[in-house]
């Protein structure tokens, strides 16, 4: 039954490649047609079929993935990439958690895009890559050793770049290239670390607690720590950690909104997963605890948390503001991981889950503002609550969750992060960390809530039409679902909390 692992990866990959090929052939025909000066006809029926196809593939895959993930341990050696290095899949607790988040977000944003992508064009290509990325993400989450994960980590960059390039404008192409080069730079820095871990760990297979070989490592601590640090910075690129964060605010906003939502919601988590796997499952925290690597890592993450929030606060363009917010929020997670205590790791895992839902929800909302109201900037959104009350309520709840106001979800994760920091015994960072998180939360309130306030209370002089124009159901329902998840998970975090706690205690 282990072979089942491969099925949920193959299905979307096959469908995606099929769509891409067909889209490419269409283009070839079109360039020929332009030559013959005949007009291009867009077939509405064909579009509907496309939506059915993508919807069905998404639904089946999501069900398959969740079933595969939650029905017991599975592992599979696909083939040997090199001698001693197999492409190896293994469903474990972390992979299970990540793959579930990915699936929920992917389905929600997917259904949202049926409606949204009408405004963008090139739907076939978009959905082709959308499905392809899904399959790569599943594969990355199910990876059982570092090389397999690295393989899909790099593929992820390559297949997600076309989403950034989507609208083909000069800005998009520059942003796409920036994304590509930052990610590649990060990936190669990660690879640098992997080369050393290959030598100094007994295996690259993920084992809770790591598998560093103490005899080999003795006497080579300096170089090994440097390698791990380089690796952290490298994989941190994908998670938007300072100093390799600059691509994120450029690339995320320029993509179509559902793509920004998944980029910000789950694709950045690929970086988190890579760091989590290499630190907790290959190197092992015991080796890093108390070293300069930990100190430097904590400093970088706190810097990123603060800087991201500050930049978001100063940013007028809505999607860019959300992108800066991602920079800041993902570093909450990384800060939690850098503390290396069970509570902090629990907080980090919880924040991974919550941030995925919240940020996806916020980006989808921003997408509605963009295509329905034609409003890019936050200060243009005056009185929006009169026209779209439901949407703005969703936005507000998601914002409250992100800020961390109880009982919404962000509160729980931040509580554990702060608790972990205080317990970690990391000196000054024990209280300085929570303080930075608090300041950042204030800033988060500062950049998210004005939209709610201006939206519901436009003020007396503003001229606002009272006409209701909620977005179409296809767009509203995914947003609603994500917003409800963001709140409900905060009220009833019990199961999730226990699950994350188990993962954390297994690694320590």
């Amino acid at each position: 039954m282990n072979g089942w692992i491969i099925l949920p990866m193959l299905l979307p990959a096959a469908a995606g490649i099929m769509l891409l090929v067909s889209s490419f052939l269409e283009h070839l025909r079109m360039t020929k047609r332009i030559k013959e000066n005949t007009p291009v006809i867009v077939d509405e029926g064909e579009k509907k079929n496309l939506h059915y196809l993508v919807g069905i593939v998404l639904a089946i895959t999501a069900v398959l993935v969740v079933w595969t993930a939650w029905s017991g341990e599975r592992q599979l050696v696909l083939f040997y990439l090199m001698k001693e290095i197999p492409v190896y899949f293994h469903v474990d607790a972390v992979g299970r958690l990540f793959v579930t988040i990915v699936s929920i977000v992917w389905v929600a944003a997917g259904f949202y895009s049926f409606e949204y992508m009408k405004h963008e064009g090139e739907e076939k290509r978009f959905f082709g890559f959308y499905l392809l990325i899904y399959s790569v993400l599943i594969a990355q989450d199910f990876s059982g050793n570092l090389v397999t994960m690295y393989l899909f980590y790099e593929l992820l960059t390559l297949v997600s770049m076309p989403l950034v390039l989507h609208n083909g404008s000069r800005e998009a192409i520059m942003a796409g290239l920036k994304y590509l080069f930052y990610s590649m730079c990060g990936a190669y820095m990660g690879l640098f670390g992997i080369f050393f871990l290959y030598r100094y760990c007994s295996t690259l297979t993920f084992l809770p607690g790591g598998s560093l070989n103490p005899y080999l490592a003795e006497g080579n601590r300096g170089i090994l720590l440097t390698a791990v640090f380089v690796m952290l910075i490298g994989f941190g690129a994908k998670a938007g950690m300072f100093p390799l964060h600059a691509w994120l605010p450029a690339a995320h906003p320029v993509a179509p909104s559902p793509a920004s939502a998944v980029l910000s919601g789950v694709i950045v988590k690929a970086g988190v997963l890579a760091i989590l796997r290499s630190v907790y499952y290959v190197v092992g925290v015991d080796f890093l605890r108390g070293t300069w690597v930990q100190t430097a890592w904590m400093t970088l993450t706190l810097l990123t948390v603060f800087m991201g929030s500050l930049l978001a606060y100063r940013e007028p363009v809505m999607k860019k503001r959300l992108a800066y917010s991602t920079v800041s929020q993902v570093s909450y997670i990384l800060f939690g991981l850098s503390l290396m205590t069970p509570d902090a790791m629990t907080g980090a895992l919880l924040h991974t889950v919550f941030h995925a839902f919240i940020k996806c929800c916020l980006f989808l909302t921003a997408g509605v503002f963009l295509v329905q109201c034609r409003k890019r900037r936050a200060d243009e959104l005056v009185g929006i609550g009169k026209q779209m009350p439901v949407l703005l309520w969703c936005y507000t709840f998601a914002s409250l969750a992100l800020i961390g106001i109880p009982p919404a979800s962000g509160f729980v994760s931040k509580w554990y992060l702060a608790k972990g920091a205080l317990e970690a015994g990391v000196g000054i960072f024990g209280w300085f960390g929570p303080a930075v998180l608090l300041v950042s939360a204030l800033l988060t309130a500062g950049y998210l809530l004005p939209i709610t306030m201006k939206g519901f209370f436009p003020g007396e002089e503003a001229v606002v039409s009272e006409e209701k124009k909620e977005p179409p159901k296809g767009m509203l329902i995914p947003i609603l679902v994500l917003a409800v998840l963001a709140v409900v998970l905060g009220i009833m975090p019990g199961g999730l909390l226990r699950y994350a706690g188990q993962i954390a205690s297994a690694c320590m």
């Binding site: 283009h27 360039t31 001698k83 690295y150 192409i173 290239l177 820095m189 640098f192």
Partner: protein, 491 residues
């Protein structure tokens, strides 16, 4: 008798090459069939020889005393001979289509085919003298190929080429003389032939000579500061740039360096000395320098040529780690780079041939017109930058693993250089693909009227190479098992 075949595979292409202008062919087609048949026949003979390896040496002729031109086939030579024999027929097929409009075909194919024999001569050399002999000969027979178009630029390029090669050979000659004086024999023996008793306290002199000899042979590998001839030689027709200046000639340089390092001087005397550090620094500089120049270059073929400069130094980096694992990594990259770089050069050639575009800024939107070529080009670019699943990742992995294993601090810097170079490779290769496939919103495709993918003779080799990149990338076990056997003699 079995050993005779070594002479045959070296002489047959030379002879059939010389006959091309002399034989009375009725038409072009007949000539092409003759050439391809001869090249394939020779490749088949080489592979037959590799399957059934002759143990004894074969002496072609003697100069005097124990100085002779003689052949012997060992593991290292087999790898090199196998590589060129696999590539030559495909490259020749590609050249048929490409050279259609270039003129002077007879002479072109004459020298092209002779080069095959000379390269095999280097692979099969039993001693450093034979290798030197063929090394010089290779410079001479490839000279007319660079001059081919007889334009002013081509003549200047060939002059530069010639001066560099003569200079390089002179340095290599010094090395040979020292091996003759201080070694027990001129033959290649795994582990080296230097006689420690004869050297006495002159180790530093020997090390200096090694550095000189290394630089001399590395001129062919376009190591910095001797790299500028290679991009200039890009003026030659594409089949020459692709096969000779990405594989046969330049890798001859790498191969000779392997020979002198592991089989003449021996790594025991070199490892950990200033000589190793000197050459390693040069190599690391070249890795980064080549990539940076590639990034700056706007001429398509010259950009690929600079990329070759950098990649050849990956091979040299493996060599100068001076462990069997390093040699294994070097050989791996020698094989895989051959596939990747020929493929990207052939794509460039196909674009020049069909679209007449030579500069990168002219390639906008061509991805729609020549989709097959550009898809394959993108794959080769990804392979060069080392995306896992393609062969470049495997060879890079082995090089880096060897470097980390050697516990040499400078080698760690080399690993960093490999990765910096990989990033730069991503930039200079993928910007081309992005440009071709995403020319911008209002690009006018009508300016590219009538451009399309080339015919099967060109496509065949492209497809074979693209497939090979995947096969080696996903299933490299057998190749490295073979290489393990090759380097096993060094332990």
């Amino acid at each position: 008798m079995n050993a005779m075949i070594m002479m045959i595979v070296v002489l047959l292409p030379m002879l059939s090459g010389v006959l091309i202008p002399l034989l009375p062919f009725k038409n072009r087609r007949q000539m092409l069939i003759y050439i391809e048949a001869m090249v394939i026949l020779n490749s088949v003979l080489v592979f037959g020889m590799l399957m059934n390896r002759p143990e004894e040496a074969f002496t072609l002729f003697r100069f005097t005393g124990n100085l002779s031109v003689s052949f012997r086939l060992d593991g290292l030579g087999s790898v090199f001979a196998g590589m060129v024999s696999a590539l030559w027929p495909l490259a020749t097929l590609y050249a048929f289509e490409y050279m259609k409009h270039e003129g002077h075909e007879k002479y072109f194919f004459m020298f092209y085919t002779i080069t095959f024999g000379v390269t095999l001569g280097i692979a099969l050399s039993e001693d450093i003298l034979t290798m030197y002999f063929f090394f010089e000969m290779l410079s001479l027979v490839t000279l007319p190929l660079i001059m081919h178009t007889l334009s002013r630029e081509a003549i200047l390029a060939s002059r530069t080429y010639f001066y560099y090669m003569i200079g390089g050979a002179a340095f290599a000659f010094i090395g040979m003389i020292f091996i003759l004086t201080y070694g027990t024999t001129l033959d290649f023996v795994p582990g080296g032939v230097l006689d420690l008793a004869k050297i006495g306290d002159k180790t530093d002199v020997i090390l200096l000579v090694y550095v000189l000899c290394f630089c001399g042979f590395s001129v062919k590998t376009a190591m910095w500061p001797f790299s500028s001839w290679l991009p200039k030689a890009g003026v030659a027709p594409t089949p020459v740039t692709a096969l000779l200046h990405a594989v046969a000639v330049v890798k001859t340089g790498a191969f000779t360096v392997m020979r002198v390092t592991y089989y003449s001087f021996g790594t025991d005397i070199l490892r950990g000395t200033w000589a190793q550090y000197t050459v390693m620094i040069l190599v690391i500089i070249t890795i980064v320098y080549g990539c940076s120049r590639a990034l700056k270059e706007t001429h398509f073929k010259r950009r690929l040529a600079w990329s070759t400069v950098s990649n050849l130094s990956y091979i040299l980096f493996g060599v100068v780690i001076m462990t069997p694992m390093g040699l294994k990594g070097a050989l791996g990259h020698m094989l895989f780079h051959a596939v990747m770089k020929i493929c990207s050069f052939f794509c460039a050639g196909a674009i020049m041939y069909k679209a007449g575009k030579h500069y990168i800024y002219e390639l906008d939107g061509l991805g729609r017109r020549m989709p097959k070529v550009f898809i394959i080009f993108t794959i080769s670019g990804m392979a060069l930058m080392g995306v896992p699943g393609l062969c470049g990742f495997i060879s890079k992995w082995n090089l880096a693993a060897a470097a980390v294993e050697s516990q040499n601090l400078l080698a760690y810097v080399g690993v960093a250089a490999l990765l910096i170079s990989a990033l730069l490779t991503a930039i200079y290769m993928l910007t081309i693909s992005v440009r071709a496939f995403f020319p911008g919103k209002d690009f006018d495709y009508s300016t590219l009227r009538g451009i399309e993918d080339p015919n099967w003779m060109m496509m065949l080799s492209l497809i074979v190479f693209a497939a090979a990149m995947f096969v080696f990338g996903l299933h490299s076990g057998p190749v490295f098992t073979m290489l393990d056997e090759v380097v096993a003699v060094l332990k």
